[in-house]
């Protein structure tokens, strides 16, 4: 129930951002469109509270702020590596633990790694991720306790 309300609210916001024409006819079409999408969503089990835990949304902005900082840091790191006249990289594969109970946390973990320059998730297993890393440093950043802490907080908030 909570989830349906949340999804509807997001869809309404999306429609209002897209439309820009707030006359009766398009607004009615908007209501009908959102109703159709919600109906399909229910019928085909597309999105539910497992996909979009309402509580997670409260926590996510703070996680994103932290992630953004990490992204900026490693961006600078990788940019320097690219401009260095002699390539100084240590490409490597490694399995790192990802012992999360919920799929959402694992997905956030995997995608955060990919979003951070210098590291890409290659494989997602039950409780490990296979990661390819550009340098030793970017790999160390992934294994730092800070990342674990952030994700633990995220998992608790569902």
């Amino acid at each position: 129930m909570k989830h349906s309300l949340l999804l509807t609210a997001l869809l309404v916001l999306f429609w209002l951002a897209l439309s820009g024409h707030y006359v009766a006819f398009t607004l009615i079409l908007g209501v009908l469109s959102i109703a159709l999408v919600m109906w399909l969503n229910r019928k085909m089990h597309i999105s539910d509270e497992k996909v979009m835990p309402p509580l997670l949304l409260l926590r996510l902005p703070r996680y994103w702020a932290w992630l953004l900082l990490e992204i900026i840091k490693s961006n600078i790191h990788v940019a320097i590596k690219i401009w260095q006249p002699r390539l100084d990289i240590q490409p490597q594969f490694k399995k790192i633990p990802s012992p999360w109970k919920r799929d959402v946390t694992r997905v956030v973990h995997a995608n955060s790694i990919t979003l951070t320059p210098g590291t890409v998730t290659v494989m997602v297993d039950k409780d490990t991720l296979l990661v390819h890393s550009l340098t030793d440093e970017t790999m160390q950043a992934l294994e730092s306790p800070e990342m674990k802490e952030q994700l633990e907080k995220l998992e608790r908030f569902q």
Partner: protein, 109 residues
């Protein structure tokens, strides 16, 4: 005063964004194999796109366009790592390895 500040900010964001996009395009050419190139490519999708889009947001001011731009950014940040992951997975699955030594599959947490 405020306007000038905003326009400077927007310029700075755009310039940084363009510089980064060039940097990572060079990385795409310079790095020796597929997985390393992937780091160069994936990046331009995230921060570089973010900087340029934010630069445009500041130019547009607060309007519907802002909201649309933010939606673009949000979707890009959800979909592009997913595409990168799918591609890396496909390469790995197809047996694409750089060299055997790099396959360190040890997990020491």
């Amino acid at each position: 005063m405020w306007d000038i500040l905003v326009s400077y900010c927007s310029d700075a964001l755009l310039i940084t964004g363009s510089f980064l996009s060039l940097t990572f395009a060079i990385g795409l050419l310079r790095f020796p194999d597929f997985y390393t190139r992937m780091h160069a490519a994936g990046v331009s999708d995230t921060l570089c796109a973010g900087l340029i889009v934010l630069g445009l947001v500041l130019q547009a001011g607060i309007s519907l366009v802002t909201l649309k731009l933010l939606f673009i950014l949000l979707f890009l940040w959800f979909t592009s790592p997913t595409a990168s992951f799918a591609l890396a997975r496909a390469a790995h699955r197809a047996g694409y390895r750089v060299s055997e030594q790099e396959e360190v599959a040890s997990s020491n947490s």
